[in-house]
Every structure is written in structure tokens, then in C-alpha cells.
């Protein structure tokens, strides 16, 4: 599903490589935590998988696409199979929750019939059917992240990438988002989640990949945030 081989990334003018010799396999339906200090390469790795960036060397295959050789014009179609959420939600402030979700379908050319069915469905799934017509400014942080999640999964992606999705949320709210992510994962979506949230990782007992200075220093299944079992 996701396969990286010997992937390195050296940014121009950076003192050391952002990623070094990364080898990684993620199978369908897995839930993987990416942990590590700031600057350890978690976000770089997610950017590579999303094909926002290409590695300096090595190969990346995601969903059968070779991300090194993929022509630029195919990148948008490739991205339609991936959902992404971020720490800062990235909602459009002048659109309601429902419009934010609908926007992501409109711009990939979905019919209005499809949109008018899919948007309420996904808002119900994330527990926000009551808030469909609220603006982001009228929603709490947790609710905004739910909208972002709804937007990420409304097109039924095979993979969900989450970059510190609970980074701005209090522990209780984070719990709720985690529960939602686990439900999405159970429905068959592969999830790759970069996080600093020790308690969530420790409680979930899932596969943990730890990065340090651009290298994978630990890759264990059913593990915790810190050292091995």
C-alpha cells in the first residue's frame, strides 16, 4: 500500500538530510503512529507520501503509483485517493462546515447530486450533523478537526495521513478524535499519523515508527510512545 525504499531527502542549504535511508512498508488497513522530536522528519515523510515533494534518492510506491516517475498532471488524481488532516485544521473561514466538506468535492468535479448526499452522511459519521451550517469560527477546536476529518474522508480515500491531528486539542477532545480515527481505520482506511501525543500512542498499542534526525530508529507493532515493550 505504502512502500519506501532507501529514501533520502536533502533540502538545499540544510545542514543535514531531512530523511536518510528510509525503508518502510505499510499494509492495507494498518494504523501506524509516526513519532519523534520536532525536525526528526515526520512531516517530510508525510509530504513525500502525498507527493508534495520528491526524495533526493530512493523510491516511493503508494497505491501502486511510483511517485518518482509519476507525471505532474497525474498527481491530482493520485491525491484523490488520499485524505489529509493537519494540526491547524485548514478550514476555509468563510464557508460553513458543510460547505467546507462540499468544496473538496466540488473542486474534483463531483456532481451536485453526489455532494448533497455525501456531505450530510460524512458529517453524521463525525458527529456534526447539528453543526452543518456553522462557520469554523463558531466551532470548537475538536469540532473543527472533525470537519477537517469529514473533508478528508468524504471521498472514501484508501489512505488517511494525519499530521499531529490532536496537537491543538485538549486531552478529552483528543480522545474523541482518536476514537473517530479508529473507527475510520476499522472501516478499512489505512492511517498514518504523526504525533507527539504520548498518552494516545501508549494507550492505543499500535505499530509505532520512531524517527530521529531523519532515520528510522524504531519500528515496532503494538508499541508505545517511548522505548520498547
Amino acid at each position: 500500500m505504502i512502500s519506501l525504499s532507501q529514501v533520502s531527502k536533502q533540502y538545499k542549504d540544510a545542514p543535514r538530510a531531512a530523511l536518510m535511508d528510509i525503508n518502510l512498508e505499510v499494509d492495507k488497513g494498518e494504523f501506524v503512529f509516526l513519532v519523534g522530536a520536532s525536525g526528526s522528519g515526520k512531516s517530510s515523510l508525510l509530504r513525500m507520501i502525498l507527493r508534495e515533494d520528491v526524495p533526493s534518492s530512493g523510491t516511493i510506491h503508494v497505491l501502486g503509483e511510483n511517485l518518482i516517475g509519476i507525471p505532474n498532471r497525474r498527481v491530482p488524481h493520485f491525491r484523490r485517493n488520499l485524505g489529509v488532516v493537519f494540526q491547524d485544521f485548514r478550514l476555509l473561514p468563510n464557508k460553513t462546515a458543510a460547505q467546507n466538506v462540499a468544496f473538496s468535492l466540488e473542486v474534483i468535479g463531483k456532481s451536485s447530486g453526489f455532494i448533497s448526499e455525501a456531505v450530510p452522511d460524512v458529517l453524521r459519521l463525525v458527529g456534526l450533523e447539528e453543526k452543518a451550517s456553522s462557520l469554523p469560527s463558531q466551532l470548537s477546536g475538536g469540532e473543527q478537526q472533525r470537519v477537517a476529518l469529514a473533508r478528508a474522508i468524504v471521498n472514501k480515500p484508501a489512505i488517511l495521513l494525519a499530521d499531529e491531528p490532536t496537537g491543538n486539542l485538549d486531552p478529552n477532545t483528543s480522545e474523541g478524535i482518536m476514537a473517530l480515527l479508529e473507527r475510520i481505520n476499522l472501516a478499512g482506511t489505512t492511517i498514518l499519523m504523526a504525533t507527539h501525543d504520548k498518552s494516545i500512542v501508549d494507550r492505543s498499542r499500535k505499530r509505532v515508527i520512531q524517527l530521529s534526525e531523519g532515520k528510522i530508529v524504531r519500528d515496532e507493532s503494538s508499541s508505545g510512545y517511548g522505548a520498547s515493550r
Binding site: L50, R90, N155
Partner: protein, 304 residues
Amino acid sequence: MRAKFILGEIGVAVKANLSMVISVILVTFISLTFVGTAGLLQQQIGSMKNYWYDKAQVAIYLCTETSPQDICPQGEASDNVRKTIQSKLDSTTLQPYLDKYYFVDHAEAYKTFQKEFKDNSVAKYVTPAQLNETFWVNLKDANQAPIIVESFSGLSGIEEVKDQRSYLDQIFSVLNISSLAALAIAALMLLSAILLISTTIRLSAVMRRREIGIMRLVGASNFYIQLPFILEGVLAGVIGSLLAGGAIVLLVIFFVQGYLAEKLPFTSFVSMADAWTLLPALVLLGALLSGLAAFSAIRRYLRV
């Protein structure tokens, strides 16, 4: 792709960027008006050429007593000279090119001169003998004037053979230069229009970076992301070029046909038909240039 959505996006972009869009419209308007004016001038030159070249004659000036010594050493041209010229004009070699010719002697030339220079003091000092006797030759095709000029130049008793088109050519070259000047100004202004469009697009890309970022993340195609920006540029360009087309049409109606044509009744001027043929060219040019400018700006500021 849903047209309503795209139109909505353009509306948002234009509203957010209104003053820039207006300046793009104005600059394209003015620059294309210059382009159109240059086009009109060229058409004017064309129609004047057609009109005047047909009327232009070749003049064969005979020597007079006062002609320069080195050209006319024998002084006043003799009857023989006149007969030679006449028989040459009637000959089978030249006859096919000629429409007609006529001879003007001293007395007649003096009469015409007095009439044309009635209010000029020079008329008082000129005597009939000073004015050249002249064969005026009308050609079937004015472009064949050099044949006549060559046949008679240098013959003894002839002071000069003059193709009248050479006078007209000076006027046309003045008109030509002014149309080139208009084109040069237009080129400079089109350049600034292109830069303005590029800046406008860049601004709206910055203002809408949030939307663009999300569009990229959810996999909107480049075309879908870029189209509203390109259409925004093209829309401004087309409005500007339509205004320019309107200005050209008004120029022809009020200035050329309404003013010039009345002041100079015997000149053929550009018509409304000429102005209408320019219009689609201007709109096409405006749309094309603004579209290209927008497209190249987007290439730079909106990457995948």
C-alpha cells in the same frame, strides 16, 4: 466540471481584486486603442494609395530658357524635341501602358500657375517662358511609371521626368511613421498590461492561497485550480479590448467620417466597414495576450 462553481470562483477573485482588475481593463483598453489606431492608419494609407496612385501622372518637363545649363545646354526645347516625344509616346512600345497624355504649352502652364498661386506674391514675378512646357501622361497602371521615366530621362531637350507618386510617397511615409509610432506606444503599453495581469494573478493567488492549498490537497486538477485565474485575466483583457474596439468605432464615426471627410471631401477615408473588421482582431489579441499572461503568471506562482 461545473460552470456555476467556476463562475463563482471568478466572481470571488474579481471582487477581492477589483482595483487591479480595473487597471488591467484600462491598460488593455488604451494599448489596444493604439493598436487599432495604427491599424486604421494603415488602412487609410492603403485606401489613399489606391485613390491617389490612380490619379497620379508622370510629367515630362521640357527645357526652358531658364533651365540649368548642365541639363539643358541648348536652352528652350525645340519643336523637334516635342515631336520626338510625341512619336515616342504614340509608338507601339509605350502605347499599351498609356491611358492618355496631353501637352501643356507655356501659355497654358502660366494660366494654371496664376490660378493655383493666386494669392501668392510669386505669381507676379513668373513669366510664361519660365514655366516648363509639359507632357502629362496618365498610365493604365500607376506602378508602371518607371517605364516612362526611363524612356525619357536624359533625352536632350527634357529637363526632368517626374513620377508624381514620389510626392505622395512622402505623405505616406509620414503616415507610416505615425502608425509605427502608435504601434510602438501600443507595444510598451501591452507590455505593462501583461505585467499588470501577472501581478494581479499573483495577488489573487496569494489572497486565495488557503483555498488553493486545500484544492491541491484534495486532488483538484491543475486545470481546475488555474482556470478561474486564467478566466479572470481573459475577462479583463476582453473587456479592455471591447472598449478599445468601441473607441475605434467612435473615432471613425465622429472624427474620420464626421469631421475629416467633411473638411476634405475629395479624399477617400477609412469606413465603418474597416473599423468593424478591426474589432474581432482587437478582441482576439486582447483575449490571447491576457490569457497568455495569466497562464505564464500561474505557471510561476501556482505550482502543483
